[in-house]
Subunit: 284 residues, 2 copies
C-alpha cells in the first residue's frame, strides 16, 4: 500500500500558514497584491487564472487581472506592463506565457523587477535558482514538488533522485532545488538511452516529461517515491499524468495522482511568493 | 592503453582558429581587448594572470591589467570598475574572485555588462548557461571541459555522464552544458551516499570536487572517459588532480592529466570569449 500524496492536503497546510501571515501584514497596513497579466483568452490561462484568483481570495491576497488584447503591439504591451511593474501597490506579477508570437518576451524578462517576479522570468531569479540561493522566486510548479516532499516528510538529502524532463519550468529548476537539499540528481530526457534502468534505480522519481503515462511499472523501483508533474490528455480525452498510475501505485511507497496532485499546489506556492514579496516590500 | 587528453593539444587547435579571427577583426579596424581586474596580489591570481596575458599575446588580443589596492573601498572599486565597464575599447572583462572581504560582489555582478562578462559573473549569463542558451558566456573552466571532449571527438549525446562536484564555477554549469548536448547527467557531491557505484556506471566521468585523488580505480568503469578538473596540492607538496591518475589510467579509454590537462585550456576559452565579444561589438 502506497501513500497517496494529495495536493489538497499540502495546499491546506500551506493555507493555514499563509492566512496568518496575510493577517499580520494587514494589521501593519500592507495588503498583499498579485497582478496577473494575461494577453488574449487562452483556455489554459483562463483555467489557471480562476484557480489562482480563488486561492488568493482564500488567503486574503488581493488579485487583480490585467487583460490585454491578443493583437497588442510590443510597445503597447511594454507600456502596460511597465505600469504594473512600477505600481508600488502591486507586490507580485504573474505573466502568462507563451506570449502571442508578435510579442518578444526578452525585454519583459529584463524589465520585470526581480522582487515582483513570482514565477521566475527574470534572469536574476533564474540565476538564483541555479545557484541554490533561496532569496529569489523559483518557478511555482518546481517548488510545488518540494512543498509536497516536505509535507510528507520525504527528505531528499543523500537520496538518488531522478528527474525525467529538462524544461526551464520544472526539470532543471527542480533538479537544482533538489541538489541544494543535497540529493544526488540525475536528469533524463528524450535522448536518454537506458531510461528504464536509470529510473528504476531512483529512490525518488519525478516525472516531468509531458508524455502521457510514459512511466510504466517496470521503470519504478520497489518502494520508490513517485511525484508526477505531467498534465496530459490521453487518447480517450481524460486528464492523466506522466505516470501510469494504476500500474505503478502498487510498487511505490508514496505517489502523487493526476489530477489532484502537484498541480493543486502551484497556486499555493504562488500565494506564498506574493506574501513573501509583500513582507519584503514592507521591510520584513 | 588510454588516450591522454592533453590540454596543450586542445589549446593549440583553438589558437589557430583564434589567430585567424583576430586578424580578420584587425583588418576591419577592431583590436580585441581584454581587461583583467585584480584587487591585491594573491599568488593564484598572479599566476593565472601571467598565463592569460601570454595566451592573449599569442593570439593577438590586447590584454590590459587594472591592478587595485587590496584595501580599496567599495565606492572606489565600483568607480574604477565602472570606467572599464563603460570603456568602448574594452571588449571583455575578467575580475579575479573572491574579492577581499570588505568588497561586496553583488553590485558588480549587477553592473558588469553581460556582453563584456567573460567568466559568467552576470546573472544574465548565469541564466543563459542554465537555460542552455549559448549566446552568453559560460565559466571558462566548465567550457574548457567541453572543448576537450569536442577536440577528442567524444560526443556526450545519450551518454551517462557523472559530474562529481556542484560548484557554480564547474559542476553546475558543466552539467547544464552537457545536458544541452543531450547527455544524461548525474551530479554527485559530498552528501552522495553511493558515490562509488554511481561513478562506476558513468561513461564519461568528470571530477570537479577539489579533493586530491579522491577518484580511485574502483570508482571508474572499464573504458570510461575521465576528465579531471581538480587542481590540488597533495601532502608531499605536488600538484595533483581529483583523480588518482596512475591507478585509474589503465581502466580509462581517455583521461586528462593534472597538470597539463583541463587547466591548460581555460585561458584559450577566455581568448575565445574575448574574440566573440569583439566580433559582436563590431557587428559581426
Amino acid at each position: 500500500m502506497s501513500v497517496l500524496m494529495k495536493g489538497a492536503d499540502v495546499a491546506n497546510a500551506m493555507k493555514e500558514v499563509l492566512i496568518n501571515k496575510v493577517e499580520a501584514l494587514k494589521e501593519e497596513g500592507t495588503v498583499p497584491c498579485l497582478t496577473i497579466v494575461r494577453v488574449g483568452n487562452r483556455p489554459d490561462d483562463l483555467a489557471y487564472e480562476r484557480g489562482a484568483k480563488k486561492r488568493m481570495e482564500m488567503t486574503g491576497i488581493t488579485c487583480r487581472v490585467l487583460e490585454l488584447p491578443e493583437k497588442i503591439t510590443q510597445s503597447e504591451f511594454e507600456e502596460e506592463f511597465r505600469k504594473v511593474n512600477d505600481d508600488p501597490a502591486v507586490h507580485g506579477i504573474l505573466l502568462f506565457r507563451p506570449l502571442p508570437k508578435q510579442l518578444d518576451e526578452e525585454p519583459i524578462k529584463a524589465m520585470i523587477h526581480p522582487e515582483k517576479d513570482m514565477d521566475c522570468m527574470s534572469p536574476v531569479n533564474v540565476a538564483k535558482v541555479f545557484a541554490g540561493d533561496e532569496t529569489g522566486y523559483a518557478p511555482c510548479t518546481a517548488e510545488a514538488v518540494m512543498e509536497m516532499l516536505d509535507y510528507y516528510d520525504i527528505d531528499p538529502k543523500g537520496k538518488n533522485v531522478t528527474v525525467v524532463g529538462r524544461s526551464m519550468v520544472v526539470g532543471k529548476p527542480l533538479s537544482m532545488m533538489l541538489l541544494k537539499r543535497h540529493a544526488t540528481i540525475t536528469v533524463c530526457h528524450t535522448r536518454t538511452v537506458n531510461l528504464m534502468e536509470i529510473c528504476r534505480g531512483a529512490e525518488i522519481l519525478v516525472a516531468a516529461a509531458g508524455k502521457a503515462r510514459m512511466i510504466t511499472a517496470d521503470m519504478v523501483g520497489e518502494g520508490a517515491v513517485v511525484a508526477d508533474v505531467g498534465i496530459n490528455v490521453d487518447e480517450a480525452g481524460n486528464l492523466c499524468g506522466d505516470v501510469d498510475f494504476d500500474a505503478v501505485e502498487p510498487k511505490a511507497s508514496y505517489i502523487s495522482p493526476v489530477p489532484r496532485g502537484v498541480g493543486s499546489i502551484t497556486t499555493s506556492v504562488l500565494a506564498k511568493h506574493v506574501v513573501r514579496a509583500a513582507e519584503r516590500a514592507s521591510g520584513k
